[in-house]
Symmetry: C2
Subunit: 427 residues, 2 copies
C-alpha cells in the first residue's frame, strides 16, 4: 500500500514535470511551438556515449526530412493578405492590423514561385547534419566508403540530399557516392498507404478532436487587435481560419530569410501559443501517432520503410566497410516511423487528448524541419554481436527493447523485435 502511494506521488510529479515542459519551452523560445515548422534545433545532447570497448561504428542507416521550407500551397500566403486587404479597403483594420498586412505581403512576395521549396536555412541544416555525421563517425565515412543516397521525388528533398552529399564530398572527396530520386523507390520512401489513411479520422476520433479544438481555439483577442469592428470579423470572415493561418505564418518565419528581421509572434499571448500548439499536437498525434481513438495503427504506414531499413542492414552489415544508406523524405514519414519504432516512448497510447502534452508527446521534438533518425551500427573484431545505437535528431534514443549496454542495443534483438512487430500487423 505504501509502495503504491509512493508510485502515485512519483507519477504525479512526473506528469507535472512534463506538463510544464512545452509551456516552459515556449516561454524560452516561442519558435518551438511551430510543430513541424520548427527549424532544426541541432543536437540537444552535447556528448554522445562512447561505444562499449572494442566496438567501432561501421554502417549508418538514415531517414531524414528535408530542411526548412516555404509553406506549401500559395493559399496560406494569398488568403490572409486578401482578407486583410478587403478589411482595409472598408476601413476595418486597426494600425496593428495594417502592420500585420504589411508583414504578410512581404512574406507572400518572397514566397512567390517558391511553393514548398527548400530555403537557404534548410540547405544549411543539411550541410551541418552531414558534417556532424562525418565528424561523429569518421570510421564509417573513411576513404572510398560507399554512400548510397535516395530521395523522394520532391525537389526540396532532393536538394536537401544534395546539400548533405556536397558537404560530405567537401570533407572526403574520395567518397563513392550514388544518389537517386525515383518513383521506383517511393513504395518505401513515401508510401501512399491510402487504405490506412482512410481510417485516420473516424467519428471516434473526430468528435473528441472537434471538442478539443473548441476548448483551445480562442481567436477573439487577436481579432480585436487586428479589426476595429467586432461586427466585421464576426460576420464577414472566418475568424478561426485567419487565426490559424496567422499562427502558421508566425511559425514558419524562422525558416525564411526574414527570421532575423520579422516576427508575428507578438500577436499572441503565451496561453494562445500553447493552445494553438496543443491543437496541432493533437492533430498530428491522431493522424500519425499510435492514437487509440482511431485504432492506433497509423504508424504502420511506415512498415515498408522499416522493413527496408532492416533488409538494407542485413545486406550491408555482411560487408566489412559498407558505408552509409541515406534517405531523404518528409515529416509524414519521420513522425510515424518514430512512433512505429517507439523511440523514447513516442509510440505511447493516449486516449484523452488533454493528457497528450502532459505525457510528454511533444511533436516539435519529433519532427522539426530536417528531423532525422540515424541507426549507427558497431562491430568488434572477433565478435559476431553487432550493436546498434539510434539517434533521434542526433540525440541518443531509448528503444522499447532490453539491453545491458544502453544506449547501445544488440542488433539481433532489435531486428527480431521490429520484424515480430511488423509481422503481427494485418492490413
Amino acid at each position: 500500500m505504501k509502495r503504491n502511494a509512493f508510485i502515485v506521488i512519483l507519477l504525479s510529479l512526473a506528469i507535472t514535470a512534463f506538463s510544464q515542459q512545452a509551456r516552459k519551452d515556449f516561454k524560452v523560445d516561442r519558435s518551438l511551438s511551430a510543430s513541424n515548422y520548427l527549424a532544426y534545433p541541432g543536437p540537444l545532447q552535447k556528448k554522445l556515449t562512447p561505444a562499449p570497448s572494442g566496438y567501432v561504428p561501421f554502417y549508418l542507416s538514415h531517414y531524414g526530412r528535408h530542411g526548412s521550407r516555404w509553406l506549401i500551397g500559395d493559399r496560406d500566403y494569398n488568403r490572409p493578405v486578401a482578407w486583410l486587404e478587403k478589411a482595409d479597403s472598408l476601413g476595418k483594420l486597426t494600425p496593428k492590423g495594417k502592420e500585420v498586412l504589411t508583414k504578410l505581403r512581404k512574406l507572400r512576395d518572397a514566397a512567390m514561385g517558391r511553393d514548398g521549396e527548400l530555403t537557404q536555412r534548410g540547405a544549411l541544416q543539411h550541410k551541418q547534419i552531414a558534417e556532424r555525421m562525418l565528424k561523429n563517425f569518421p570510421q564509417i565515412f573513411a576513404g572510398k566508403a560507399n554512400v548510397d543516397a535516395k530521395s523522394t521525388v520532391v525537389i526540396r528533398c532532393i536538394l536537401s540530399m544534395e546539400n548533405a552529399l556536397q558537404e560530405m564530398v567537401k570533407i572526403n572527396p574520395e567518397l563513392n557516392i550514388t544518389h537517386d530520386a525515383s518513383y521506383h523507390d517511393m513504395y518505401y520512401m513515401n508510401y501512399d498507404d491510402s487504405l490506412l489513411f482512410k481510417k485516420r479520422m473516424p467519428t471516434s476520433a473526430m468528435v473528441p478532436y472537434t471538442e478539443f479544438c473548441k476548448n483551445h481555439e480562442h481567436p477573439e483577442r487577436v481579432m480585436r487587435l487586428l479589426f476595429n469592428d467586432d461586427e466585421y470579423w464576426k460576420n464577414h470572415l472566418n475568424a478561426n481560419k485567419l487565426y490559424e493561418v496567422l499562427f502558421k505564418q508566425a511559425s514558419n518565419v524562422q525558416s525564411t530569410e526574414f527570421r532575423n528581421s520579422m516576427s508575428l509572434y507578438d500577436l499572441f499571448t503565451d496561453d494562445e501559443i500553447y493552445d494553438l500548439w496543443q491543437i496541432n499536437n493533437a492533430w498530428w498525434y491522431i493522424n500519425y501517432g499510435a492514437c487509440p481513438l482511431n485504432g492506433g495503427k497509423q504508424p504502420y504506414s511506415q512498415r515498408n520503410l522499416l522493413r527496408k531499413i532492416i533488409s538494407d542492414a542485413d545486406s550491408c552489415i555482411a560487408l566489412p566497410h559498407p558505408g552509409a544508406t541515406l534517405r531523404y523524405g518528409h515529416d509524414t514519414m519521420v513522425m510515424p516511423l518514430t512512433c512505429l519504432m517507439d523511440l523514447d516512448g513516442m509510440g505511447m497510447q493516449v486516449s484523452d487528448l488533454e493528457q497528450l502534452a502532459y505525457k510528454g508527446w511533444n511533436n516539435y521534438r519529433i519532427f522539426p524541419m530536417a528531423c532525422n533518425i540515424q541507426l549507427v551500427f558497431y562491430h568488434k573484431k572477433g565478435s559476431k554481436d553487432i550493436l546498434v545505437k539510434v539517434l533521434r535528431n542526433e540525440n541518443e534514443a531509448t528503444l522499447p527493447i532490453k539491453t545491458d549496454i544502453a544506449p547501445y542495443y544488440h542488433w539481433k534483438d532489435v531486428r527480431q523485435y521490429y520484424l515480430d512487430k511488423l509481422n503481427k500487423f494485418t492490413e
Copy 2:
C-alpha cells in the same frame, strides 16, 4: 562566267559532301541516327584554340541538357509489347518477332517506375563534362570560386546538375556553390511560350511535312520481318506507329544499362535508318528551328534565356573572379537557343525539307543527351576588351558575327548583335 561556273561546281561538291555526312555517320555508328536520344559523344574537337596573347578565362556561362534518360511516358514501353503480345497470342509473330518481343519486355521491365529518369550513363556524362570544364578552364574554377547552378524543376535535370557539382567539389572542395531548382526561375530556364508554340504547325508546314513523311516512312519490310501474315499487320495494327516506336526504342537503348548487351538496330537497313532519322530531323527543324514554313520564329522561344545569359554576364564580368553560371534543362531549350544564336550556321532557313540534311542541319550534332552551350569569357590585364568563345557540345563554334580572332569574339560585338536581334522580335 567562268567564275560563276566554278562557284556552281564548288557548291555542288559542298552539297554532295553534306549530303553524305549523315549517311556516312550512320554507317560508322548507327546510334548517331537517334536524334535527341543520342548519348553524349563528348567533344569531337581534340584541341581547343589557345586564347590571344595575355587573355585568360575568368567567367563561364552555360546551359546544358540533362544526361541520358529513359523514355518519357510508359506508352512507348507498354504499347509495342502489348501489340506484339496480341499478335503472338494469335500465332502471327515470326521467330524474329518473338525475339523483338523478348527485348521489348526487358526494356519495359527495366524502365518501370523510371519514367523519363536519368540513367547511370546520363549521370556519368555530367560528371565528365564538369571534369573537363575544370580541366579546360582551371582559372575560372580556382580557389573559392563561385559556382551558381540552376536547374529546371525536372528531376533528371536536378540530378544532372548535382552530378556535375559533386564532381567539381571532388576536384576543388573549396568551391563556393549555390544550387537551386525553382519554379521561380522557369521563365527563362524552360519558358512555356504557349503563344509562339501554337504557331508551329500551320497548314503551310503541315502539308509539306506530311508529304515528307509519306516519302520517307516505309514500314513494310520490317513488318514482314516481325509478322507472318500481311493481312494481320495491314489491318489489325497501326504499322507506322509500331515502326516509329521500334526505331525510338532502338535509338534509346544506348542510354541504358543494356547498351552493351542488346540492340534493335538489326531490324533496320541503312536506308530505313536514314529515312527515319530524316523524318525526325525535319520535325525538330519545323518545331524548334528557324524553318520558313511556319515563319521561322520558333527559336525566339529562348529569348528570355538569351537575355538572362547576357544580363548575368553583364553583372558577372564586372567582378574580378565571378566563377561560373550553370543552367540545367532540356533539348527543347538547347535546340532553339542554338538556332537563335545561329551557332555554326544552325539558324539557317531551309524551305525544302528534302534539302535540310543536304545543307548540314543535322540534329544529332545539336542536341544529344547532355548537349550544352558554354560561353567562356576572357579578360586581359590592362584591357577593357572582353573576349568570348562559344563551345557547342564542347567544340568551338562559329558565331554570325565578325571577328579578327576566331574562334574568339569581342563580347561587346556579340552582346550588341544578340540584343539587336532580340529587340527586333515582336510577340
